[in-house]
């Protein structure tokens, strides 16, 4: 094996990429070595995904050069990148749901006989690769769309390995995996490293990075901040590098208040398929109640259930002491219920991107703005202006398409459209994802101000820090159940992490 450790396997020089008016990468220099696991960290919007897309040939950079294995390259397509030895596992993006597992694994280079795909050989190849990632239980002829998400992700990894990569890129590849699969992936990656492969590993989970990475690079606002060997910086320092400044001062102070007697929202025994079980809690007026835990433990489903999106719910929900049946978002927004949801994906669930800022803001409130059959345009304009001013949405004209705004301002539009309905209960699904720190801070203040005005807020966040800084109480979910409720000083990173992995309950169960 040639010693490639001196000259890096991959090196980028001055890479820049702009989408529309948004600078995704600015003059990035970056290098990754063979035989090493290199973690790339950064907030959403820091430029990690664009970096990967450039390396994998999905997008072409506007400026800069890239060298791979000592040769200057410019990949025009993922095919070229694959051919050179750069293989990327995207977050579920490249699964072809209607094809079989074996077809997916050998999608571009199937074994052939007389120009025909050799099914038997392809199947054996799939079995061998699945065995390599420890998934012998997956039937190669199963339709991949019928497999659960975690299995699909493992097939994607097997597919990547089948292309004999020199550089393997894993983009949040473990986000959907079960704990057992995560361990398998770790073992595979360690083995590949000793075999001399380079691995770029993108993850949000700090504990994974501690366990896996040899080298860590931090990105912020489209720029490369620093690269250092594991252990050279503490967790807090890494977070500061990602955020760009001291993280402690961004949250508004929490007022001390006595627990309110009459809960605004009361949930009893809520269950849904196998994703939610026996969820019971109450939230009072002016309270910010956090939802925490690992990703995908039922937090999203809980919010959707309260908003009337899920069918076949068990249990009961009461608002202001009155039991209600919420069967659609329309029902949830009725005046006597008054629930609003800031959804997970603002681009597909929160906003109608090609339509104007104003039209998006009043989409929830057109009924109230209609006189006879006609939209009262004067009233509409004044409501829009009021919201733009109240939330300080940075916008050229309210007639501009909402797609032209930055992520933070887009999220403000989503919040604005719901504030127009003056909701009693506000549900938020990870509202600060991919948003700049300044806007985050504004959103935290806004949430606290709304709570002070009497709203009840349910905030799900994947960022522990946010739960600690914002919430009066935090419920930790695990496997669709509430495993712990933290309050006051008990809301700490240690407690959240311990509960998130369901460690505390395990201990309690033993005791």
């Amino acid at each position: 094996m040639p010693d490639t450790r001196r000259s890096p396997l991959l090196s980028l020089r001055g890479i820049s990429k702009t989408y529309g008016g948004v600078r995704a990468l600015t003059g990035v220099d970056f290098a990754a070595a063979a035989g090493s696991i290199h973690a790339v960290l950064g907030e959403n919007g820091a430029g990690k995904s664009t970096l990967i897309k450039v390396v994998a040939g999905v997008v072409s950079p506007d400026a800069g050069t890239m060298a791979f294995d000592g040769i200057d390259v410019r990949f025009a397509s993922p095919m070229e990148a694959n051919a050179a030895g750069v293989v990327c596992v995207f977050q579920e993006l490249s699964v072809i749901p209607d094809l079989s597992v074996a077809d997916n694994i050998s999608i571009t280079d199937p074994p052939k006989r007389f120009g025909q795909i050799a099914r038997r050989a392809q199947r054996r190849r799939a079995e061998a690769l699945l065995a390599r990632v420890g998934c012998e239980d997956i039937n190669p002829i199963a339709r991949i769309g019928d497999l659960p998400l975690s299995r699909r992700q493992m097939v994607e990894i097997a597919k990547a390995l089948g292309r004999d990569p020199k550089l393997l890129i894993l983009d949040e590849a473990t986000s959907a995996l079960t704990a057992a699969d995560v361990q398998r992936v770790y073992a595979i990656l360690h083995r590949l490293r000793t075999e001399g492969m380079g691995v770029l590993y993108i993850s949000h989970r700090m504990n994974e990075i501690d366990e896996l990475a040899d080298t860590i690079s931090v990105f912020r606002n489209g720029g490369h901040v620093r690269t250092f060997p594991k252990g050279a910086a503490s967790g807090t320092e890494v977070v500061q590098m990602m955020v760009g400044r001291d993280v402690s001062a961004v949250y508004p102070p929490k007022p001390a208040r006595p627990p309110s007697n009459a809960p605004v929202l009361e949930v009893r025994g809520l269950g849904w398929t196998d994703r939610l079980a026996d969820i019971s809690f109450a939230a009072g007026r002016g309270e910010i109640l956090g939802l925490g835990g690992l990703d995908g433990q039922g937090q999203r489903e809980l919010l959707l259930a309260l908003f009337g999106v899920l069918a076949g719910l068990e249990g009961s929900v009461a608002v202001e002491g009155r039991e209600v049946r919420i069967t659609s978002p329309r029902a949830a927004t009725r005046a006597d219920i008054g629930i609003a949801l800031i959804p997970e994906d603002r681009k597909t669930e929160g906003l109608v991107l090609p339509m104007s800022v104003g039209e998006n803001i009043t989409l929830t409130a057109l009924g109230a703005l209609t006189r006879g059959l006609v939209i009262d345009r004067t009233a509409e304009a004044s409501r829009i202006d009021a919201m733009v001013e109240k939330l300080r949405i940075k916008v050229g004209a309210v007639t501009d398409a909402v797609a032209t705004l930055s992520g933070g301002n887009q999220q403000k539009v989503v919040i604005a459209k719901w504030l127009l309905t003056a909701p009693r209960i506000l549900l938020l699904n990870d509202p600060t994802r991919g948003i700049d720190v300044g806007t985050k801070q504004e959103i935290y203040r806004l949430l606290r101000a709304l709570a002070d005005e009497g709203a009840t807020i349910l905030l799900y966040s994947t960022d522990y820090d946010e739960l600690i800084g914002c919430c009066d109480r935090v419920m930790i979910l695990y496997g669709g159940r509430i495993v712990r409720v933290l309050e006051g000083d008990a809301i700490s990173e240690t407690n959240i992490v311990a509960s998130a992995f369901n460690l505390a309950t395990a201990v309690e169960a033993v005791a």
Partner: protein, 316 residues
């Protein structure tokens, strides 16, 4: 996205320019062959508008459905069924009966698309075939006793101040549709659903009702066109709607409405309608055989769309 707004007006400019070009070419032809400028005479132009009115009403309804990102292939037999039932059964109530038939068909289409989530192309295709079958069954394969009422005849053949009534009705319908699209919540929801139905649903709006209402409007307009056409031809007949489906879709897309939904203006559809009618007429004035007309017709549609340069953004 300013560019996008400008882009929405581009079809109007293109279609307008093309209409002028058709008139110019046709006029050169008539000047050279007969020494007249027939095409520029008010009589000719008003007649063309009258012919365009039937297609224009259908296209206005089709546009609403296309804005949703759907399509209505049941238009031909919605026209025929409304007109046939109205003239056969309606008696003096022919017009309300015909419109009610159209409304009912639209509601069925809407339910299939919105509640059963069957792709609109297939569901409305099936409804079209069923309607045809029903009409054949009810009439036993013969032309029914088809006598349009006096009102229908007047609306289709009369005129006010020299303007044919169908043109006035088309104009009124266009004002109505433009009003719905620009000033009412329904119009706002139609555009929004065409762009992203999930976001509209999560904004607390019953998108299924919007779909049903829009399909109902489309069929209502198709039945209005059918009634008008029955008055114009003094009878309702079986295949009367067949020549209107594809030109209606063509008028909508030539007018710049995105076939995937979400953007488009009624003014564009009106321009597209006039363009198609004028193109057909001028080609027939020029004694172009049917073969040549079809070819030019197809080339114009593709050419216009390529000229707008609207590309799908399937890949990031």
């Amino acid at each position: 996205m300013r560019a996008m707004l400008a882009g929405a007006d581009r079809p109007l400019v293109f279609a307008g320019g093309f209409i002028l070009a058709i008139l110019a070419v046709g006029s050169v032809y008539t000047l050279a062959t007969a020494g007249t400028l027939t095409l520029l005479s008010p009589t000719y132009l008003v007649l063309q508008l009258k012919v365009a009115a039937f297609l224009g009403i259908v296209a206005a309804g089709m546009m609403l459905v296309v804005l949703l990102g759907h399509i209505d292939l049941s238009v031909p037999w919605t026209m025929a069924a409304s007109a046939m039932l109205a003239t056969a059964w309606g008696g003096p109530m022919a017009i309300p009966v015909g419109l009610a038939v159209g409304l009912a068909i639209g509601v069925v289409n809407g339910i299939g698309v919105a509640y059963l989530r069957v792709p609109s192309m297939i569901f409305t295709l099936g409804v079209n075939v069923v309607l045809r079958g029903l009409m054949v069954m009810l009439t036993g394969g013969f032309s029914p006793s088809s006598q349009p009422t006096e009102t229908m005849l007047y609306l289709a053949k009369g005129s006010v101040l020299g303007i044919p009534n169908p043109v006035l009705i088309w104009g009124a319908i266009c004002l109505g549709v433009a009003f719905v699209l620009r000033r009412t919540p329904l119009g706002r929801y139609i555009y929004a659903i065409g762009n992203r139905e999930s976001a509209v649903y999560l904004s607390g709006i019953d998108t299924r009702l919007v779909l049903v209402a829009t399909f109902a409007l489309c069929s209502l307009l198709a039945s209005a066109a059918g009634l008008l056409l029955a008055g114009y031809s003094s009878k309702a007949f079986q295949a009367m709607g067949d020549p209107y489906l594809l030109p209606a879709i063509a008028a909508v897309v030539i007018g710049g409405t995105n076939i995937l939904g979400g953007s488009g203006k009624l003014s564009g559809t009106v321009a597209g309608t006039i363009l198609i009618v004028l193109l057909q007429s001028v080609l027939s004035v020029m004694a172009m055989p049917e073969a040549g007309r079809q070819i030019i017709y197809g080339v114009v549609i593709v050419g216009m769309l390529l000229a707008y340069g609207r590309g799908e953004k399937a890949r990031s």
